[in-house]
Homo-oligomer: 387 residues x 2
């Protein structure tokens, strides 16, 4: 039995001082009901994904109450910045097992209330706090600066190459009305931005974001009954893990768990040549270097040659593999526990052909991909979706 996405919804991303957290989660869920395919009565179970930037330490029950969704049962799934994908994987298995026909997955994070220093410390605690964060004082820009330094050393890439990723993602953020940063930037602006953790500059970093996203994962039978116009099917989900601490790693130019997750997803979906079989992808560009590593870990480019894809603009609309046409984490924003759900929303929009003008991918094979990393690879999920 096939499992697919029956409906999607997403809030505006940004520094959302105009809404409280209850109103923020409503924005995404209201879009789901407004699509007109699914009603609350159709939902058998709810999976709530969040790392917990909330005053409640067990937010799922409280937000479900506010949304008026009792007595549908709910639990929270957390896998750092891959929480959303882990939640979708949970829903996928519930539907495949026959336990549910329709599972609503809701991702939520309202990070700006913690302030930037507070959010940066909180995020660091999503890493290996005991071994690395507390003793060495490292935070996430520092982690990814190690990757970027090593990559530049090994392969002769330059800071400009990484800024090209920022330029592309801002270009598409400017075309996405839900994005946190809806303006283009130039290579010079990016290169002129201040260092956060050398060689990572401000414009290499994804922002602190408030946002919510929701998807309904359903059985094929249910999708037919609900009359979904363009069903998008989940062809395979791959996952893996690796140590949260960087200390013992041999390789700083790849996220090994992402490579294994991709292999599993490709095997499940029958993808042989990702570069030609995948039309459109969202990848986990928490920092610009992460998008380059993703190109390579996903097999869109050989090791050390990911930078060529961005230099040649092959990941823009019309390119070989169109990547992060929503602006990515970089410009759309990165509400960490909601990001995996937001990635599904984007790929479903792209495959349905519903993305805004100027950022709609050219769809040839009808196949999309999401690549979602938690921490520095201790959680990794890759999904293949198709029309």
């Amino acid at each position: 039995m096939r499992v697919g996405v029956a409906s999607i919804g997403i809030s505006r991303f940004g520094r959302r001082t105009d809404v409280n957290i209850f109103e923020l989660v409503e924005e995404a869920v209201r879009e789901v009901w407004d699509e007109g395919y699914v009603s609350p009565e159709d939902i058998d179970y709810i999976v709530f994904t969040s790392t917990g930037f909330t005053p409640e330490f067990s937010p799922a029950g409280v937000y479900i109450e506010h949304l008026g969704l009792n007595p549908i049962a709910v639990h929270r799934v957390e896998a750092a910045c891959a929480s959303g994908s882990a939640g979708i994987y949970t829903a996928y298995n519930m539907v495949r097992s026959g336990a549910a026909r329709n599972v609503l997955v809701i991702g939520l994070e309202k990070m700006n209330e913690f302030g930037t220093p507070g959010a940066v410390e909180y995020l660091a605690r999503l890493g290996s706090y005991f071994w690395e964060v507390r003793d060495y004082g490292i935070t996430f820009p520092g982690y990814y600066a190690l990757f970027m330094t090593r990559y530049m050393h090994e392969y002769g890439a330059t800071e400009e190459d990484f800024c090209r990723v920022a330029v592309k993602n801002h270009f598409y953020g400017a075309r996405n009305p839900k994005a946190q940063y809806q303006r283009e930037i130039s290579l010079e602006e990016c290169m002129g931005s201040r260092y956060i953790a050398r060689p990572i500059k401000l414009y290499d970093c994804s922002p602190i974001t408030d946002g919510s996203a929701a998807v309904v994962i359903s059985s094929e039978d249910s999708i037919r009954e609900l009359g979904v116009d363009t069903p998008i099917w989940i062809r395979g989900i791959g996952y893996s893990s690796m140590p949260a601490s960087l200390t013992g790693r041999a390789d700083y130019t790849s996220i090994e768990s992402a490579r294994r997750a991709a292999e599993k997803a490709y095997r499940a979906a029958g993808i042989e040549d990702p570069r030609s079989d995948i039309d459109v992808a969202t990848v986990h560009d928490c920092f610009t270097i992460a998008e380059i590593l993703a190109y390579e870990d996903l097999g869109f480019a050989e090791r050390g040659r990911g930078v060529e894809l961005i230099r040649e603009e092959q990941t823009y609309v019309g390119g070989e593999v169109q990547v992060n046409l929503d602006g990515g984490l970089k410009a759309k924003g990165h509400p960490v526990g909601a990001t995996g759900v937001a990635m599904y929303v984007e790929i479903v929009k792209q495959l349905r052909g519903e993305a805004e003008r100027g950022r709609q991918a050219v769809i040839r094979r009808g196949v999309g991909l999401t690549h979602n990393i938690g921490g520095v690879g201790q959680y990794a999920y890759v999904s293949i979706l198709s029309r």
Copy 2:
């Protein structure tokens, strides 16, 4: 295809100043390997259950690294004090869907490092912080004091009746070498203990506990191949939810979500008369009143007549429904996010006939039950297990 429990492990519960959190989680997992049925290589996925009494905000990856279990993928499941059951339900669906043959579920909580006032505030934030905890200053003993007061008013129960639950559970705690409180108490001792939130006294409360527990959930094929001596099968899991805030409730003498969860579990397992069909149960006695409500919500007694079961000692070994023979949350202890997993460990031990002398249930039908509540009912899971 049937799904069952291939292996179990549990740490000693208590104020574990003798171990750090890494050593604590090892205790349960080492018991799993030491049973000799399952090896790390057999595990396809790990579900980690914890509300997050940890220095890391995304603990799953960090503890898996310490346990040497990479690259098996992992995510965390949280549903307040029902996290363990939500995690097992996730594993159950993974196995039923064919996504995994063996899923390791690990529950962990080391609460005493927060100190009692810190832990009590943390626990309160597992409730409806925004609406009730912050504005009215209520904590969990206060919530359950409302239930107890109403129950006494409606049904003429006395404080002694609730202390009888504490006496029973300490009686069995004294026979459980893993329990936090391994000593019997008298009715007079309980009645003489100080009020925490009138009419709830110190001895009506479960303690602040450090502990870990682990189970392996497996397919029937895998259980046969692993050569498990006494497989215990999951016959059904029911779940439901209700508002986290008490303000709008009409009824304070029942946890409605638990009643619905039990109905679903009974339907799935074909249980018609729980009082005669269930041999042994673990119920969520976070406070003594909660055990009485559980008797009624599970159908072991009519509404308002749960106290008769404890007055007549029908929930002791040899009684009609033998309840919390491990000491319950009350005496064994309540490491909140691990409790649902620990309940499975206990029921598997009982159905295998491996519980210690003096606390082994009389097994007639070979059927056991776990009843696990998160918060004040915003999460509720009931499982039926059988030989």
